[in-house]
Symmetry: C2
Subunit: 187 residues, 2 copies
């Protein structure tokens, strides 16, 4: 019997991380996940999502509590500013996914991080969603992410970010798109 | 001078909505927006974004308060479950954007809504992000949205959802993708 050193680096339990990878290699069905959100309209552009249950590792699971999030438009877009706009949540999701990946990749490579911070900007021309131009897309025209990463092996940090980008679920979805179906029970 | 009736329907101030459209028609530069999020790594896969300032209508603006959001992985994905996963925020953003659009479109068409609720599911095979298969993408393979919409003109509600989808910024970004650049200050 071999014992792996139970190293926690960057807050990542690397022994558990590698054990999880081994478990999935042995049973790839463990990797099939389904995530979910439910949303309820409140008033105007204000609505609220709840994120709680999901399926993964061949079982139904729940987060430790139901997480709820309000979205709205600001007054300049005829809303009541009860939360960020939906498109701002996309920027948060992108930063969060890349940052989690950076922490995991650095830990797996034995690199200790001291800082990961980022700013994400998305340019959007509302002539699209306002229906005032057919030549302007509805969504962002481009998104820019700027990272500051500090750690004990400075020469290796750029490569860590690159590997995180290569394996980021949100980066993939935002850059490559995904099929979305919409079903409506109207009455 | 003509006075528009100041009708608030579905919580949408339709007079202001139409006045905003007219203002943007008169000066299309008002439609150029830039949204932003800043993110800071906390530990492991846990990190936190702040959404506050944005640019729009030719000026710097801020939400009424800084909104902060935690993201994390659950224990089954070697995280601490301090918040939803980044990919779950994408599902919330999609539901929120479509729902805000439904309320606006219905109001503009004189339809009073009584309920808009939705469930969003995203299927993802983690063999991609775990680096265990080159044939599996990192992100969602498909996303399904199921809406329940109730209002005073049932026969018109499906068309309202369809128009919201046609003008949704998040639906556009998720289905068509967007260029994302990543800049790194590593040291």
């Amino acid at each position: 019997m071999t014992t792996m050193p139970n190293v926690v680096r960057n807050g990542v339990d690397t022994a558990t991380l590698f054990a999880t990878l081994d478990a999935v290699k042995g049973d790839t069905d463990l990797a099939r996940f389904q995530f979910r959100a439910t949303n309820r309209w409140v008033a105007g552009t204000h609505n609220r999502s709840t994120i709680h249950g999901y399926h993964g590792a061949k079982q139904e699971m729940t987060h430790r509590e139901p997480f709820t999030f309000d979205a709205d438009h600001p007054p300049v877009l005829v809303g009541t500013d009860k939360g960020p706009t939906p498109v701002e949540y996309l920027l948060h999701a992108l930063a969060a996914c890349l940052t989690a990946g950076i922490a995991n990749v650095a830990a797996a490579r034995g690199i200790t991080l001291t800082e990961v911070s980022s700013t994400v900007e998305g340019d959007i021309d509302l002539l699209g969603i306002l229906g005032l131009s057919d030549d302007v897309r509805n969504g962002y025209q481009q998104i820019r992410v700027s990272f500051v990463v500090r750690g004990d092996e400075p020469a290796k940090l750029l490569s860590v970010v690159q590997q995180s980008r290569r394996r980021s679920a949100v980066f993939d979805v935002l850059t490559n798109g995904v099929p979305v179906s919409i079903d409506v029970d109207a009455g």
